[in-house]
Subunit: 242 residues, 2 copies
DNA sequence: TACAAATTCGAAATACTATTTCGAATTTCG
DNA sequence: CGAAATTCGAAATAGTATTTCGAATTTGTA
């Protein structure tokens, strides 16, 4: 349906020949942007289709020509978000020093994400809680595999590398530990986003700070006997990373 | 409406005088049990009031005489769950050895909870994601404070005790660390419950095992320099670490 | 025991909501 | 130009939470 459509609007000559597709892209974007904004501000389940159509300026009948249901809209937004995040994550993992440094960069990225886009994180938390369980595994798998082909092996390698280069403690389980750590950080991140200001008023600390402390403890637990205080201290106070 | 009503059903003599109240209690229970079961099996948002009334054997009109809305039902169940869990948690924290042992007991309890009642945990995850943010802070606070009066000071003390007795590393922040750790474990626990079987089929490990690994890493990160292997390999199945 | 209060039922009514349908009007394509 | 794609408007369908009310039943009490 949309294969050769997005190569580029090369010149005016081509532009006319692609008006249908280009228009469809624009409409789709308008709908997704409007929906995303509403979801962020009010939560998935409190947003009605009528509101989405109103905010995006199309009629319901048009709406359903782009998305077959409200769930479909949610799914599309989730897909885009995951795509974005995984790109950033892969970038963050380029650190050449050692495995611990790469893990640190990845987790720091998640903390920044919470501080900068708490609404998006909250949206993903709602997705997990409401939809993820019932939707067919294939749908999730196809999305995820399209993003990171082999996360299992990859995470396993990471732990193995770290044990080899001495940055991680040697008694970690390559098939388990990295998944457990990532899940803990994502879980903490999304819970903080869900509770939002409630946490801040009750605990007196910004949610970003709480998550960074969780990450600090986890990294301390991963660290090999060698590097005692190397990465421990006030870790992420953003210095000019050259 | 129901002040001096629940002291006790002393004798048969009294029993008759309290039939109204007793009946109301029973009805309330029937509704909550039926609703809880449905929520566990299908998720909060997929359960209709009609189903709840059918399952509990009352008419809608009767239903709304006990709970003013579906949210009200959800809230009541959350309240009971929190009450239960906090009782168990307080019990688990009685370990007299040292602060690290108490924290370990608390986190282990959460892992057992996930393994034994994944549906309940999932229910709480949905509550957090869908409701917790919008509901008035006072409502959450009144519930929580009724359960554990001073969690802040309590958690702070725990860290301070641990630093004093040497079981925790000395550079932890009494006002921050324990909250961060608890939040990470609860977040991980609820995320695993939300994703449920999906995690198991994709990662090939039961969710309980993943959570226990997260907890193991966190505890390693908390541990003071003194007790190297003391509590590490303990609850974690095999692995005679030496 | 008789009467008032509390509880339940049944059934219908209201007000939202997601989703569909269809024909007419407009724009794009070949 | 004529066919195809797109949008609109407006109304229709079906499912949902919540309310209302009078009749029937049970319980409390004088």
């Amino acid at each position: 349906m949309k294969q050769g459509a997005k190569t580029a609007k090369s010149r005016k000559i081509r532009k006319r020949a692609r008006t249908y597709d280009a228009h469809r892209e624009r409409q789709r974007r308008r709908i997704l942007d409007a929906a995303s904004d509403l979801f962020d501000r009010r939560g998935i389940d409190r947003v009605t289709m009528a509101e989405i159509t109103a905010a995006s300026g199309v009629q319901p009948s048009t709406m359903y020509q782009y998305f077959s249901s409200k769930d479909d809209v949610v799914w599309a937004i989730v897909g885009e978000l995951m795509q974005d995040k995984s790109g950033i994550a892969i970038e963050a993992m380029k650190d050449p020093r050692n495995a611990l440094a790469r893990i640190t960069a990845l987790l720091d990225m998640m903390a920044s994400d919470l501080s900068q886009n708490p609404e998006k994180v909250r949206f993903m938390a709602q997705f997990d809680a409401i939809y993820a369980r019932d939707w067919p595994v294939e749908r999730l798998l196809s999305l995820e595999s399209q993003i990171h082909p082999e996360p299992f092996q990859f995470f396993g390698e990471l732990i193995r590398d770290g044990i080899a280069d001495g940055s991680l403690r040697p008694d970690l389980d390559p098939d388990l530990t990295m998944h457990a750590v990532i899940n803990a950080v994502i879980g903490a991140q999304r819970r903080l986003a869900s509770l939002g200001s409630k946490v801040e008023t009750e605990y007196g600390k910004p949610i970003g700070e709480l998550l960074r402390e969780s990450i600090r403890v986890l990294l301390l637990g991963l660290r090999g006997p060698g590097n005692s205080t190397e990465l421990t201290g006030k870790s992420r106070t953003k210095k000019r990373s050259s």
